[in-house]
Symmetry: C2
Subunit: 444 residues, 2 copies
């Protein structure tokens, strides 16, 4: 038998960490459902040719093979590496049963065969929202979707998240106007600006798309522009280039930053360095930063796509964003930013004076649970002091005693002990479930 | 691109079905947490030699291979086929950080490379509860755990589930007393009794473990015994064989049926035909039937295991049961036994009179959501009749109108329309979330 050891890139949490993860998932669900998004789950696998059709992802895929299928007779299946490819397929497969625009959220594990370095995982949790239309999708959804994410992230016990946005039409319109034709490749290079710096980008632009020094300099100037209102468009126009597509993109970008900030002030800024390497984006694109944890990279990204989903007859344009839940949680849990008030769901430990008393204790616990109070019966009938320590180790706040004199409950934090009836006693609301508190890492 | 088609054995639900699945998961979680079980999630993969160590499962495993790892340099990983093997590994890996007895629940997908026939899936959802001790685990947990499942299943919108129990010590003690030594193999054969019938079992016992006609007849007589009280032990003893192990097992079985039925009357019967083919069970074993859907087979099974989990120094005996959630849901959703009251989470559609009115509608929706009312803003500003039909198609019960005369909300089921303030209006509680109702299939 192999030595027991964690597998690099496949994170797991202890029960206390899972309490945090579960509450984060619940909060995300709550926000998404308040906005009228339907939850779906898709199977973990897709045909490999569908996974490969998105480009540039081939090295990341895990293929499946049945142990006994030596001949390889199964058609090739792979684990999904994001939730966008499965959504596309789900929409095409079920179009006749869905109402459009289809508003869906999806919180699921995805798998990538990457080298597990730089905090990159091979198995991780994503939370996606998308709106998908049939044949058309109004622009206002490009304002709506990042705001849903801003609201969802603001409810989580994490540092503030800011969204930066750009627009693919601005980039494409501008690059074409200055004479660069290989727009997709230029975007992939510009996407690396943060990592490699301007000097390397100039070189890559020269080698990759044949950009002159002037063209490269203009591309870098565009990438420097940021803003939260209409002036961002003025700054682009001041570079002196124009095209219909550029104008259309600038109008959308201004509508986005103005609309978003009117509804949630300070939620979103335009940042023309946002390129998003994936070539299926056609309108707004979004990235984000976690305040104080900018080194994590974007924790919530996405954009508008017009032609990702098509069955040849109809197209299904969409816009959506994806939160890297595991990436955020690894920092929040690993860095002790947040801790649960206790590591078990139990509110009351019902003590057992001797084994003949166990049935009575079970009935007491049953009465408590019937009114929504989490209760477990002591696993043993050791001395009460030992049973109290059992509760204390787990953070269980109350211990119940059934004595001939009557039933009593003790708050083991304060030591206060009162006579109580399992059919009526109720703890303060804050004790009903583990709460999330600031951890030691929160003040670093 | 491959034709879009479902992949056999990998079930997916439409949004309405997912509402049912999600509520079932929430109800299970709620019950498990009321009983003080901690939720965990384990990674989807385990080293293949760990997956194989449980025996008899080799043909069911999906192995993983990275697309670009032609050389196969990665150590072999496979998808977990149940949640018991991952639990064993998790307990050994984290023993120093866990408190024992460790009470955990786990609701996760598992994968098996079986031929997808007979309603068997290749990807499906399981919900497990286990209690794991360190070096010892009291018998009373063998009464507790099936009752947790009985309670959890009783809260689901499904037909009644009954649990049948036996005890491995009874079977082993009896087989040994009648002179059959190959106990594990005998159990595997007896486990097939339901499917192949007594005549074939007699033949298999003769061929597989060399049982005489008398021995086979006694084994079949044992399997006929059922009962919900101490008489079940008398019936076994009346067959005329005795051993210490048999007596111990009978005492446990009687304690189980009597204890369980005292706490929840009618919850559990002893049924000595329950064999459970897996050879790691050492005490109580459980199976179950869904009333009216006995053809599904057991929907909740498990047992006591003493030596599944060990690091060579310490052992971690446990007892647990697993609910086949997908197996139940395939029947409940596929058979239209249950339907949600609507197929989206949305309670209110906020209409938009023209696009210049969209910001006002967004603010109305935001006010509603702030008080927990799911609201979406109409995707278009078509005629009100069209927007009402949009809501109607999805089952959204209310449409909100912002008019110069003031704001109004219409219950589109009754047609009643009233003046309303988005900061105070509240729908009846039943309209806040989709509810589960009996479907057309429920009366068949």
């Amino acid at each position: 038998m192999a030595k027991i050891a964690p597998i690099s890139g496949f994170p797991e949490w202890l029960p206390a960490g899972r309490i945090i993860e579960q509450q984060v998932i619940d909060l995300l669900r709550q926000t998404f459902e308040l906005h009228g998004f339907s939850g779906i789950e898709t199977r973990a696998v897709e045909p490999v040719e569908r996974l490969l059709s998105k480009g540039e992802t081939s090295q990341e895929i895990y293929l499946l093979r049945r142990l006994q299928d030596e001949a390889g007779t199964d058609s090739q299946l792979g684990l999904h590496f994001d939730l966008t490819v499965p959504l596309s397929r789900y929409v095409l497969e079920n179009a006749g049963h869905l109402d459009f625009p289809f508003r869906r959220y999806q919180i699921q594990k995805v798998w990538r065969g990457e080298r597990p370095q730089d905090g990159r995982f091979r198995e991780f949790l994503q939370a996606d929202v998308d709106v998908v239309g049939q044949d058309s999708l109004a622009f206002h959804h490009e304002i709506e979707l990042p705001l849903v994410m801003i609201e969802a992230l603001a409810k989580l016990p994490i540092p503030r998240v800011r969204i930066q946005a750009s627009n693919r039409k601005v980039a494409q319109g501008f690059y074409e106007a200055i004479g660069i034709e290989a727009v997709d490749e230029t975007l992939r290079i510009m996407d690396k600006l943060d990592k490699v710096g301007p000097r390397v980008v100039v070189q890559m632009l020269a080698e990759g798309v044949g950009a002159t020094a002037d063209q490269a300099e203009l591309a870098l100037k565009l990438a420097e522009i940021t803003g939260a209102d209409a002036q961002v468009a003025d700054r682009v126009r001041a570079l002196g280039y124009h095209s219909e597509l550029l104008d259309e993109g600038l109008q959308e970008l201004v509508d986005l930053v103005e609309g978003a900030n009117e509804l949630i002030p300070g939620s979103l800024i335009a940042d023309l360095s946002i390129a998003r390497g994936l070539d299926y984006y056609t309108g707004s694109v979004y990235e984000s930063t976690l305040e104080g944890h900018e080194d994590l990279g974007s924790v919530c990204s996405g954009g508008r796509y017009d032609s990702l989903v098509s069955d040849g007859k109809k197209t299904y344009p969409g816009v959506g964003l994806s939160i890297g839940v595991s990436r955020i949680l690894a920092r929040v849990i690993g860095g002790d930013l947040v801790v649960p008030s206790r590591k078990v769901p139990t509110t009351v430990l019902v003590s057992v004076s001797d084994e003949s008393d166990r049935m009575r204790a079970q009935k007491t616990a049953r009465a408590l649970r019937a009114r929504g109070i989490s209760a477990e019966v002591s696993a043993n009938s050791a001395k009460f002091g030992k049973q109290i320590r059992y509760a204390d180790r787990r953070g269980i706040p109350y211990v119940w005693f059934s004595m001939d004199a009557g039933e009593q409950v003790k708050d083991i934090r304060s030591g206060e002990q009162v006579i109580a009836d399992p059919d009526t006693w109720m703890p303060p609301a804050a004790d009903l479930k583990p709460e999330l508190l600031s951890g030691k890492g929160a003040n670093d």
